[in-house]
Symmetry: C2
Subunit: 312 residues, 2 copies
């Protein structure tokens, strides 16, 4: 029993990151049923779609689950209304100012966690009254911070700066890396990529195969003049890379990105022209397993690695 | 006693990274005397200067120490000759092909370690017959790999790929982060930044202060079109950043870099126009301590963190 398992009333301090196009009710309920905390990723959902996912998730598990709300879409207020209507008890906000919704949600009795990638925003989170922070390193998939601080360097700095519980994210896809995060001072971990490649993930099978096939150096953080995003190196990536090499502006990059490219890649399975958001741990994800198997293996490896540690 | 302490015949599996302008005989001998493995960084030394440092190091410690040889300078053959003349028993090579000197040095009875930043070169190292590998993540200071793989994501992949002992580098500046590296599978750690800011470091006091003053997000990996290098954001950095934003070529970047800029920054203390190579852990280095104190604190924290870990 630690701060994180206590906060969410879960068995293991393992949170499944809310990811666009990957984490619907099926993934979230599977993670919660296996003893972690599942999150429905609302970023790719219309409000009414989110409502359906929440309702299905409630039917699929009697364990706690939550919803991740990126604060960068125009529909955020509608998402929040659905969350209140459906009496969701846990909300992870990300990609925005933690002061925007935290006190409002807390007043409704909701547990609020905010995702950050630097010390400055960790302090803002604490001031805003969050119950916990997700501190996400450079190696994480999808959208990321401008500081490029890695999980290894970030977690100790966050622990020095705030006293709320810290959930480490980025670079965690195994029991060993989970233990590494805890050794650094984290109270729990948030895992994205490993669950994106699970059986219960709603990602397209092509995308899951691309994660399994990715090796060391096959992802890169791009689009830094717009919003940094880590993605698999494919044809679309190469066009962005070429443009960036020649000094493309934010406007030119947005034009190359166009619309719905993440959906095209991760949900429709277009591996050439889609945006394939995934973390560096894809380099050692080699099979598509069930959520239960992933979590059980992770816990087993976590515990056996503790046994193997020797004092010096 | 583990693979690394056994290989080098040292007390703690802590290696001090060979760094230009920071790690002369004084730092290397202090680390060796404190139970780690000190390395003289030959990269910034003329061959005869290296000889003097080796001789002084021998006088200052009866413990094992080594020399780091970056394989990118025209004088490498002369450095190697000095190392043979002076009967140095441990050589770390970096920034080049491990096949170039490994078997030659091994035939002379020298323990050879090569520094890499990706899986491909780790395999090359093993084929070349090295005794161990340093696997260095994106967060490390100074020159770095093109793959941008962080220590958290790199170490597990290296462990899967090779069977020689692995020394983790990048993002390690405390007992907790050392334990994190071991949890990931590393047999030992190489530490640069923390020792660059020690009393025994030969860096300019201004540079040591700059390390202490650096916070989260104050370093960045630059010059990717030439050789990637992580440095503190100062006036020189800003010129590079502006040039890169506008798509500067490798030639233009080399012109901005000019000559002797690392010396200007790290050895002469010009914080505005010098190149200040340091890792992301500078964000939590807050004082300049003696090597002995750094190592003792690190070991203490390592052991006490093991005590604090609980199975889940």
């Amino acid at each position: 029993m630690n701060k994180i398992t206590q906060l969410f009333n879960i068995k293991y301090p393992i949170i499944q990151g809310g990811m666009i196009w990957c984490s619907g009710w099926e993934l979230a309920s599977a993670v919660s049923n296996a003893g972690g905390l599942g999150l429905i990723g609302s970023g790719s959902m219309y409000p009414e779609v989110l409502r359906q996912h929440i309702q299905k998730c409630k039917s699929a598990t009697n364990k706690p689950f939550g919803v991740n709300v990126p604060l960068l879409y125009p529909q955020t207020d509608d998402h929040i209304q659905v969350i209140l209507d459906e009496r969701v008890k846990i909300v992870f906000t990300s990609a925005g100012n933690p002061k925007k919704y935290t006190s409002f949600l807390k007043e409704k009795g909701i547990i609020v966690v905010h995702v950050i990638a630097n010390v400055k925003f960790a302090i803002k989170c604490e001031e805003a009254g969050v119950d916990a922070i997700v501190a996400e390193g450079f190696e994480a998939g999808g959208h990321n911070g401008f500081e490029e601080t890695t999980t290894m360097a970030l977690i100790p700095q966050i622990k020095n700066a705030v006293s709320v519980p810290v959930i480490a994210a980025g670079g965690i896809g195994s029991g060993r890396s989970m233990l590494a995060a805890v050794a650094l001072g984290a109270d729990g971990v948030q895992i994205g990529s490993r669950f994106a490649a699970s059986i219960e993930s709603s990602a397209h099978e092509n995308f899951k195969s691309a994660i399994v096939n990715a090796g060391d150096g096959d992802t890169k953080l791009m689009m830094k003049k717009v919003v940094p995003v880590r993605l698999i190196k494919n044809e679309f990536y190469q066009r962005v890379q070429n443009a960036e090499d020649y000094g493309a502006t934010a406007e030119e990059l947005k034009e190359i990105l166009g619309r719905a490219r993440a959906k095209k890649g991760m949900f429709e399975g277009d591996l050439k022209e889609g945006e394939l958001e995934i973390g560096q741990v894809s380099g050692y994800i080699n099979e598509i397993l069930s959520v239960e198997k992933i979590i059980n293996e992770m816990v087993l490896e976590y515990n056996s690695t503790i046994n193997s540690l020797e004092k010096i």
